[in-house]
């Protein structure tokens, strides 16, 4: 086995069947594995086993779970074997054996690996063909004796005789796995008690929007927490409500239902955890699994088919749930939102600095200038001015007739001028700036005024560079007076920039004249402060 972990057992329980509990578990298992976790899914729903259907070989490229030929023993068989081992040890020792001995028995049985399958699942969030592995224990070997074996196992007797082994089992599994996901029996049963009250460190209460499903989930959750507090087990037992099969549409009804369920869980949390304040609104806003009719037919794992980044996909909903499940308690869902925002920002930055990603975006959104603009800026920042120039030109020509994209055309033209200036081609740069002013000078839209102001200022710079300071001054005069250019207002700071340009040119003009006159530096200092200030110098 690999390095020791500190995993947790999470039980998925629903009071009624048909709410998508096993589907939720299978998706959560896949997503957790896709995030690099070691995951074990265990079917404890002996009377109506179904989790294995999500992991069948049929229709898959991989060898997965095979119910008929060569099926491995499963959970019920594990408990039969465990009981036999422990009873034999007790008989040999003439009494109950100590915890370390029982732990050793467990370890030996788990290490043997004869009860679990290694299921390969697709990972659509990575490059095509990438897979992850989830370990899986089926409910049992579904042979002719299965029903009889299930019927005959006395869970109450097992608990009375070997109850201490169950927390040990949870601990031992936690050494091997990051997450152990237990698919519990529905309703009120002995095995349900073990799954909801004895084994888990977290309890997911799956419920559909109907009263009996909600009431059952609330009541079982309440009993599980009370039972945990009354037991010797010091592990926490936070409850994670999971509203499932939410139909889209009927917004008013849906909202009322969610608010009601939220209020009832808040009351429950205040009661069982002795909280003064409990606000689950963030959690309930984040966590809900919509009903998708596509997945209602047969057993398919959405997280294996659709990437989590696909907005509105079932896998994106499950992803939000597992992010909450990662918290110590649903009350901390606010942290999830903050994390999501940070991640989204990081992702934007990553995409904007990844050429391949930008090329993909260009192909995907041919009618949008933004990805091309970002690519051109990225190329320019990497010193690839010629390629950047080509891209800016492409934007300007491709979108020149689109009236709604004129802002981007102006920006691309202006950036083209800047790039030409960087390439030490001032005449061409000047011509592009003049083109911007000619084409958009009369525009009234605020979004267009900014590139025009910049073009005017840079036009001055280019003229200055070309040794035509008087013309530059005239341009700056025009830029520096607010509202002077065709009577339109400049964007904030536009006038100041123009004035700054005028000052720097004036200063350069004065310096040139003083220099021609053989003037010494001390005389420069007598220039008006507005012309010799630090800002002017730095502008130069």
């Amino acid at each position: 086995m690999t390095a020791e972990r500190s995993g947790q057992v999470i039980t998925f329980y629903s009071y009624k069947g048909g709410v998508g509990r096993s589907m939720a578990l299978a998706n959560v298992a896949a997503l957790l594995a896709q995030r690099g976790n070691k995951v074990l899914a265990v079917d404890f729903d002996f009377e109506a086993p179904g989790l294995h259907r999500y992991f069948l070989s049929e229709g898959s490229k991989f060898e997965r779970y095979k119910p008929k030929n060569g099926a491995l023993p499963g959970t019920i068989d594990f408990f039969y074997d465990l009981r036999e081992h422990l009873s034999r040890l007790s008989k040999e020792a003439g009494g109950p054996v100590g915890l370390p001995v029982r732990a050793a028995v467990l370890r030996e049985m788990l290490d043997a690996g004869r009860y679990r399958y290694q299921i390969q699942l697709w990972n659509p969030n990575r490059k095509p063909g990438t897979t992850v592995t989830v370990d899986f224990m089926a409910a049992g070997r579904f042979d002719a004796d299965y029903t009889e074996r299930v019927r005959q196992f006395d869970w109450s007797g097992f608990y009375a005789e070997h109850g201490e082994i169950l927390p040990l089992l949870a601990e031992e599994l936690g050494r091997h796995y990051d997450y152990i996901l237990v698919d519990s029996r529905t309703g009120v049963t002995d095995i349900g008690s073990i799954c909801t009250m004895v084994l888990p460190e977290k309890l997911v209460l799956v419920f559909a929007p109907n009263v009996q499903s909600l009431n059952g989930a609330l009541e079982v959750g309440r009993q599980a927490v009370i039972q945990r507090m009354a037991s010797e087990d010091l592990r926490p037992l936070p409850l994670f409500p999971l509203l499932s099969r939410v139909e889209e549409g009927e917004e008013k009804q849906k909202q009322k239902w969610v608010e009601d369920a939220q209020a009832r869980f808040q009351t429950l949390f205040r009661e069982v955890y002795a909280l003064r304040v409990c606000d689950l609104s963030t959690y309930f806003n984040i966590v809900r699994i919509p009903h998708r009719s596509f997945y209602a037919y047969g057993e398919r794992i959405a997280a294996e088919e659709r990437p989590t980044e696909e907005t509105g996909s079932l896998s994106s909903h499950f992803l939000r749930f597992i992010e909450c499940l990662d918290c110590d308690n649903p009350n901390e869902a606010q942290h999830v939102l903050e994390r999501q925002q940070e991640e989204a920002e990081r992702e934007i930055v990553r995409k904007l600095s990844d050429e391949g990603e930008l090329q993909r975006l260009i192909q995907q959104h041919e009618d949008r200038p933004e990805p091309r603009m970002f690519l051109a800026q990225l190329l320019a920042s990497q010193g690839r001015q010629i390629e950047a120039l080509r891209t800016f030109q492409e934007i300007a020509s491709r979108f020149s007739d689109d009236t709604e994209k004129q802002e981007w055309v102006a920006r691309a033209l202006f950036a083209q001028g800047v790039t030409l200036a960087q390439l030490r081609r001032p005449e061409e740069a000047l011509s592009v700036y003049q083109d911007v002013i000619r084409r958009f000078g009369d525009a009234t839209e605020p979004a267009l005024r900014e590139p025009i102001a910049r073009a005017l200022f840079n036009q001055g710079l280019a003229l200055d560079q070309l040794g035509r300071p008087e013309e530059a001054l005239s341009v700056y005069q025009d830029t520096g007076q607010p509202g002077s250019h065709t009577g339109r207002a400049w964007p904030a700071g536009g006038g100041a920039v123009g004035l700054s340009g005028r000052d720097s040119t004036l200063w350069r003009c004065h310096r040139t004249r003083f220099a021609r006159a053989g003037c010494r530096c001390s005389e420069w200092n007598r220039l008006p402060s507005s012309l010799s200030g630090q800002r002017t110098a730095s502008a130069l």
């Binding site: 009120v188 008690s193 926490p236 955890y273 002795a274 909280l275 304040v277 110590d328």
Partner: protein
């Protein structure tokens, strides 16, 4: 017992008396997985509150988390120089030789440290963590908090300090500590006393607890039965 406005210099006086730590936390390593966050956060937040008094150390045996450490003499020395022992009680506490020795040291030293006129006073602050624990006479005789005290916090989260009553609970413990420190600071201790204490601490063996009616620490339990699940809507 609780003092809301303790004398501002009680911790300073405790240090002047020769104590190095205000609190020593005695806990069995068997609960390191389930209660480690509780112990660490309690130590951190108590130290935080003591900053108001110029700072005081809470001794937490973090080394116990490591396998096979040999640190006993240092541990005994630290316990000897601690004013109060917070005890986190679970069944395994009484099976741990370390824990029983820590109890014996605190018990053996406290008589010479507390003022003679404070007959009911103790240097122990015991907290029972597990429900239905059978407690030895030595614990039952002194003021202790039962399992209800920490239970809602422990069941709430892996980090009990996330619970909204954590601050109040720490404040309560802090007040009790300060009340005991106040008492301890009234007793002047010559250095010979400390030398005697250290000799005792280094030599002490585990405490033999007195169990009510039965000699074994773990009482025989009735047949264990599965916790019942109730039908929809009913109360357990």
């Amino acid at each position: 017992m609780a003092i809301t406005n303790p004398p501002p210099n009680c911790i300073e006086r405790i240090h002047e008396c020769g104590y190095e730590s205000c609190v020593f936390i005695s806990w069995p390593h068997m609960i390191r997985k389930s209660a480690r966050a509780l112990v660490e956060d309690l130590a951190r937040d108590l130290e935080d509150r003591f900053r108001d008094y110029g700072g005081a150390k809470v001794f937490l045996d973090r080394m116990r988390l490591q396998q096979g450490y040999e640190w006993e003499p240092v541990l005994r020395q630290n316990l000897c120089r601690s004013a109060i022992t917070i005890v986190l009680l679970v069944n395994s506490y009484f099976k741990s030789e370390y824990c029983c020795t820590e109890w014996a040291i605190t018990e053996g030293l406290q008589d010479g440290r507390l003022p003679r006129d404070e007959k009911a006073a103790t240097c122990f602050l015991p907290f029972v963590l597990q429900k239905n624990m059978t407690l030895p006479d030595e614990v039952r005789r002194i003021q202790h908090e039962d399992s209800e005290f920490f239970a809602p916090l422990l069941v709430y989260s892996r980090r009990p300090s996330e619970h909204d009553s954590w601050g109040q609970i720490v404040e309560k413990i802090h007040d009790r500590i300060v009340a005991v420190l106040e008492m301890l600071s009234r007793v002047q201790r010559p250095s010979e006393d400390w030398e005697g204490d250290e000799r005792f601490a280094q030599a002490a063996g585990p405490k033999q607890f007195t169990w009510p009616k039965m000699p074994e620490p773990t009482p025989a339990r009735p047949r264990r039965s599965l916790p019942p699940m109730m039908p929809d809507g009913s109360k357990a």
